[in-house]
């Protein structure tokens, strides 16, 4: 039997399906007690509409692996930041054409185009198709791309 932790960790984010909820840093904890699995997750943004889908996906994945009694809890503390995206998650976002967020530093770092690697990029909009992304374009290869907002 696959461990409950491994099953929950493999659930993909519905809006960034190239990464799992573990790689995105929103899986907080998985515990098993008296046959009940409790999975704790945290939202990226307060109003993230994907949370209900993520809850349902976790429950369905655990049921499919034989865990009958599943509870998904939400925790806000500590608040999620983009620094919680794992290095593997960052690399997968990059390969999917989504620029990963910079680590939070006092310096604003150049955003490199995830397609051609050029640093000659421009922010088109501070907001994108989902709460966690902004819209950018590359001046070198002319391609638009999304970037995970750094918070």
């Amino acid at each position: 039997m696959v461990s409950a932790r491994a099953t929950a960790a493999a659930v993909r984010d519905p809006e960034l399906p190239v990464v799992t909820i573990e790689e995105l840093g929103i899986l907080r904890d998985v515990t098993e007690r008296d046959g009940r699995v409790t999975v704790t997750i945290t939202p990226t943004y307060s109003g993230c509409p994907a949370m209900d889908v993520i809850r349902a996906d976790i429950t369905a994945a655990l049921h499919a692996d034989g865990y009958r009694d599943v509870e998904v809890a939400t925790s806000l503390a500590e608040p999620w930041t983009t620094d919680w995206i794992t290095p593997a998650g960052q690399a997968k976002l990059q390969r999917a054409g989504i620029a990963p967020p910079a680590k939070k530093t006092v310096l604003t770092l150049t955003v490199r185009c995830p397609r051609c690697g050029s640093p000659d990029t421009q922010e088109l909009s501070r907001f994108g198709a989902t709460a966690c992304k902004a819209l950018w374009r590359c001046r070198a290869c002319r391609e638009p791309f999304e970037r995970v907002k750094a918070i």
């Binding site: 939202p43 943004y45 307060s46 109003g47 501070r126 198709a129 918070i151």
Partner: protein, 233 residues
């Protein structure tokens, strides 16, 4: 109702009514990117509102939906600023600037406060408010320091909204006006706008005395839930 529940209700109502007003721009904003931006900010506000209202209703066994959809205008505790009509784009940006800077300061203070649940919600929402405030400040400068027409409209918006900002600092939020003013004056200065004089200070939102604009907003926001009580999808 406990003091903590009353505070959660006030914070939740500010965020909920702001979310509803911002959502009115969806499909109508001046450009596509701004349409997406205002809808995203509305979503953040709605997320914070859900967390605050869930907490506010727990002791009385009322859900977030009960509080959002089944209260009348006199039971809402939001500040008048957030219920005012959107007006033109400059008025919307002015309202957002004044609100978001206030919310960020309020959440920063609550994140260090004694109530653990309020502190957790505030700690989550403050980074979002900071992003909203930055966005509103960028537009304030772009419009204020823009063409003659955009300058005129942004100044008119700031002048019309200024009286309503005083209410935000009623009660235990009084200490926040000084840092709020410092930041707002800096942005207005950069935008070549004049900071209005303090004068008339309309009030009443925190005790349920609202403008008729709230009643119309609630009619639209609540009609579906009231027509089909308990409906889910």
């Amino acid at each position: 109702m406990s003091d903590t529940a009353a505070l959660a209700l006030q914070l939740g109502d500010d965020a909920l009514i702001a979310a509803q007003r911002l959502a009115e721009w969806c499909s109508r904003a001046p450009e596509m990117e701004e349409d997406i931006a205002l809808a995203n900010i509305a979503l953040d506000q709605l997320g914070a509102a859900r967390l605050f209202l869930t907490y506010a209703g727990e002791a009385a066994n009322r859900t977030e939906d009960d509080l959002a959809y089944l209260r009348d205008d006199r039971e809402f505790r939001n500040a008048l600023l957030v219920e005012l009509d959107n007006g033109d784009f400059a008025v919307t940006i002015g309202k957002l600037l004044f609100l978001a800077v206030f919310q960020r300061l309020r959440y920063e203070s609550l994140a260090k406060g004694p109530d653990r649940r309020l502190a957790e919600i505030a700690a989550k929402a403050r980074t979002e408010s900071a992003y909203h405030a930055e966005h509103a400040a960028l537009w304030t400068v772009r419009l204020g320091d823009g063409t003659d027409e955009s300058h005129r409209r942004m100044q008119a918006a700031v002048d019309a909204l200024w009286p309503y900002t005083h209410e935000l600092f009623e009660g235990d939020a009084a200490d926040l006006r000084r840092p709020w003013l410092a930041e707002i004056e800096r942005t207005l200065g950069e935008a070549t706008l004049t900071r209005p004089a303090d004068g008339w200070a309309p009030s009443g939102g925190r005790v349920g005395v609202h403008t008729e604009e709230l009643s119309k907003l609630l009619a639209e926001m609540q009609v579906l839930h009231r027509a089909h009580p308990g409906a889910t999808w």
